[in-house]
Amino acid sequence: MTTQNLTRRHRVANLFHGFCFTVAWTGVVILGILLFHVTGEGLHWLDLQFLNDFPSRFPEKAGIRSALFGTLWLISLTATISIPLGVGAAIYLEEYAPKNSFTRFIDLNISNLAGVPSIVYGMLGLVIFVRLFDLDRSVLAGSMTMSLLILPIIIIASRESLRGVPSTLRQAAFALGATRWQTIYSHVLPAALPGILTGFILALSRAIGETAPLIMIGALTYVAFIPEGPMDEFTTLPIQIFNWASRPQKDFHELAAAGILVLLIVLLFMNSFAVYIRHWLERKI
């Protein structure tokens, strides 16, 4: 009877393995379908002229130069602002904060902010950064708005990974006389870095694809120059794609698909870079 039980248990275990395997690769299959769908429509528009030209009413002359640079500027500034703020907040909440109701209040706050629709952040950015801080329709206003949007994701993901670091590590450092910050900086943070990077990737991927809040703060759709400083006006790839997709002419729809391909390539580069670092860090632990 025990043997029968064992066989059954093994069968269940194998089924489960198969189930998880299939399901995991389903995600990749879906990605493949999506890419295939988009590539079919847009690949033939992808050439050097497309990357180098500014938008135009003629599909053959239109290009995404301003949108591409706008996106790159936006991402760089957003990363610079949100990473230190996000990781800093997570470190405080996880390592320093006393377990009182104020800390729980901040906790609740952050979880709540993760669910606020992106367009509300757009309204916030319009009122505070564009009007109050008088930053106008600049890349800086856009990246500050995006930073607020993705901050909750970074904080939550970083906290989870900080929590995952065994406290024995911290206690060992304390036992040797390290201060709290020294412990965090030299022991906890490196151990938590892979998880933090995951949060960073997810958050920035979110920021790169947003349209509505940026339109609200005044990101433009027709721009015939690339930003030369954080105070310049800009447009982004998703906005340009959105605009082209809503034109009646079929050529513009295909241009939109080509734009999506460029966006995915940028995303891929960004992700690969972060993943490579994460891989390297994980192997060190």
Partner: protein, 315 residues
């Protein structure tokens, strides 16, 4: 004798230096702690700003429309004559999408993360995880168009009654969108469960399935639930994909095959549309945003209470 004294003096002097160094170090510690505290405070400031902006305009709205009519009314036509301000159709639309997306993404995301952390080899994992994260980065408008141009026509061959805008396709794409979030975060949480726990279970003869479901998941429950809540919040707050795929027709219905409108889609429609600012129609954006905010707040309070009870400490 004199050399002894110098030795003692120098020893005292160096100790004093350490002591002084200790005080200086703790001053630096305080600065760091305060800086980090302010980082955390920014989230509070953000919330206050949002609440302030929403309350201000929504307050103006509620002077003209009673709260009761707003929350319990079943007809939402603020931009059409005759005007009606019952928000339930929008809430209905949001629930439909979120339930659909969650029932797709939660099980699949969880199973994927189990595969990633428990079964996959390092090579497969280093390939699969980044691929899934690419899924997370695809812009929401792409998902919206994907739903419109691929998913709806595809399912039309099975269910011809499906309308061009429908909640079904929108739920699918929102589910795909939040899938990587659940998979990646849960995977991280599972990897943080100490291997000693697993080894202990194997040692008493458990199969891999039993180890996973009996040891790993319960230990990581707080992280899993945290990921679930984060993903659900994202689904509720999703804007462009549902705007493009689910439609702009507010309707009180549980039929996933017809055009509906979610709260977020409505907000996008009006804020980027042609309604003049300052009118009551424009103020509806803030009333709906305020309601959305309160709903997610309640959801978070409940989940926080639950999380508190499940949090595990490993040592």
């Amino acid at each position: 004798m004199k050399s002894n004294q110098t030795k003692i003096e120098s020893k005292l002097a160096s100790e004093a230096k350490v002591f002084r160094g200790g005080r200086a170090k703790s001053w630096r510690e305080e600065v760091i702690k305060t800086t980090l505290f302010f980082c955390a405070l920014i989230s509070v400031l953000t919330t206050f700003s949002i609440v302030f902006i929403l309350a201000q305009e929504a307050g103006g709205f509620f002077q003209d429309v009673s709260v009761f009519d707003f929350i319990f009314g079943t007809h939402w036509t603020p931009l059409l004559e005759p005007r009606s301000f019952g928000v339930l159709p929008l809430v209905c639309g949001t629930i439909l999408i979120v339930v659909g997306a969650a029932s797709l993404a939660l099980p699949i995301g969880l199973a994927t993360s189990i595969y990633l952390s428990e079964y996959a080899s390092i090579r497969i994992r280093s390939l699969l995880k980044p691929l899934l994260e690419v899924l997370a980065g695809i812009p929401t408008i792409v998902y919206g168009y994907f739903a419109l141009t691929f998913i709806t026509p595809l399912f039309r061959t099975f269910f011809p009654k499906i309308q061009i805008f429908n909640a079904f396709s929108a739920s699918i794409v929102v589910g795909i969108m939040i899938l990587p979030m659940i998979a990646s975060l849960c995977d991280n949480t599972f990897r943080a469960v100490p291997d000693s726990l697993r080894q202990g279970a194997y040692a008493v003869g458990a199969t891999q399935y039993e180890v996973t479901t009996g040891v790993v998941i319960p230990s990581a429950l707080s992280g899993v639930m945290s990921a679930f809540v984060l993903a659900l919040s994202r689904a509720i707050g999703e804007t462009m994909a549902v705007t493009l795929a689910a439609g702009a027709t507010p309707k009180m219905t549980m039929d996933p095959f017809v055009s509906i409108q979610t709260m977020t889609a409505y907000i996008v429609q009006v804020s980027l549309g042609d309604t003049p600012a300052g009118t009551i129609a424009y103020q509806t954006i803030f009333a709906v945003s305020a309601l959305l905010f309160i709903i997610t707040l309640c959801m978070n309070i409940v989940s926080h209470r639950l999380l508190h009870r499940f949090r595990e400490v490993y040592e």
